[in-house]
Symmetry: C2
Subunit: 217 residues, 2 copies
Amino acid sequence: MQAAFWVTVGLLCLTTAGLGNAQKPQPCRSPPLFMGGLTVGTQNEKVWAVGRYAYDAVQQRIHLGEMGTYNNKSFTYNALMLFDEGVLYEINHKEQTCVKKPLQSDFHPMAVPKGATFISQVVLGTSSAPGQGLLVNNWWGDMPDKQGNYILTFSEFGCFPVSALAKTKEFGWMSVSYYDNVLGAEPHWFIPPPFCADAELVESEDGKVTDFFSVFH
Amino acid sequence: MQAAFWVTVGLLCLTTAGLGNAQKPQPCRSPPLFMGGLTVGTQNEKVWAVGRYAYDAVQQRIHLGEMGTYNNKSFTYNALMLFDEGVLYEINHKEQTCVKKPLQSDFHPMAVPKGATFISQVVLGTSSAPGQGLLVNNWWGDMPDKQGNYILTFSEFGCFPVSALAKTKEFGWMSVSYYDNVLGAEPHWFIPPPFCADAELVESEDGKVTDFFSVFH
């Protein structure tokens, strides 16, 4: 009887140890196709913005539209990044103008970065009632240029971005909140508007893109 | 036939207009008894803290324990606020010491403050799959002392606090994230520890409490 008890305890420990490993949150990758909204703010108050984006990791393209203030001046920015073609369109719908730039950055899928360290798993809202909480994982790491750190929050189920905090040289801490993610994206978001057809390629200074996804790289 | 069509459209408009009003998020009050965790950070980097709290709106008491840094010095703080009795206990479990102070503040239940303005309703995570999103409402308003503003986020279902941003004179923007809320709280969190029994009431300078719930008042 006692032997049976200890075998049971032993098996329980084995099982829970196994569970413990299996349940430690693993780095994840966001769905290949989705759209969402974001708000951006910086510690030094240089930037404040709200925007919407459409993300396609299959055909490697991102459309980002945002408006806000930069150094107390309001701005709007609308860019279609076609990483496959190596082209970035800066689109001004109001003026019907388009600037076509080379895009030399590689496409980086939205995901918990390699080398990120797991911090914690928490529930936003509550786990006391079904449908009243969102299980999220927090990750920490060094920025690619090593000049700062990031803290990223992804949902456990679905692996959608929830928030990003990144220490940057220019802005101090930059905070991005993600919301209203929906699976899928209408293809038209990734087609340059007609008035972009005549745009000639403008050589930019470095051809690199700084976008709000760069913290996920 | 055409008449029937327009009547249908008219009824549809009436219905949706009705729905529109009914579905505009209403200010809500958090459940009377719950526990949770929080993290606090300030724009000027003076304060960084993590903590846990137990909240009882029925018997008007709050227990808050936190640790962090203040002006680059680490601190721990553990306070039991009994608003009914008008007493605040500052508890040091390690040293087994207790400071008993008068608590002249009124108890303010955790809720969307009166006079707050609705900003937006968004989903954290996604609404594309069940259980992968958290519906939240954002509210904006003036701080009670009118020297700053706040932006509060509460979950639509359950009315739990999700985040608070408050502009303060001392810290600039103060950011509080709430998580791991569970309904209910063990009564022992609200009973002063035995070594508090001998604590004599110490007159504080103003008897007012500054806690991280003050932004909800």
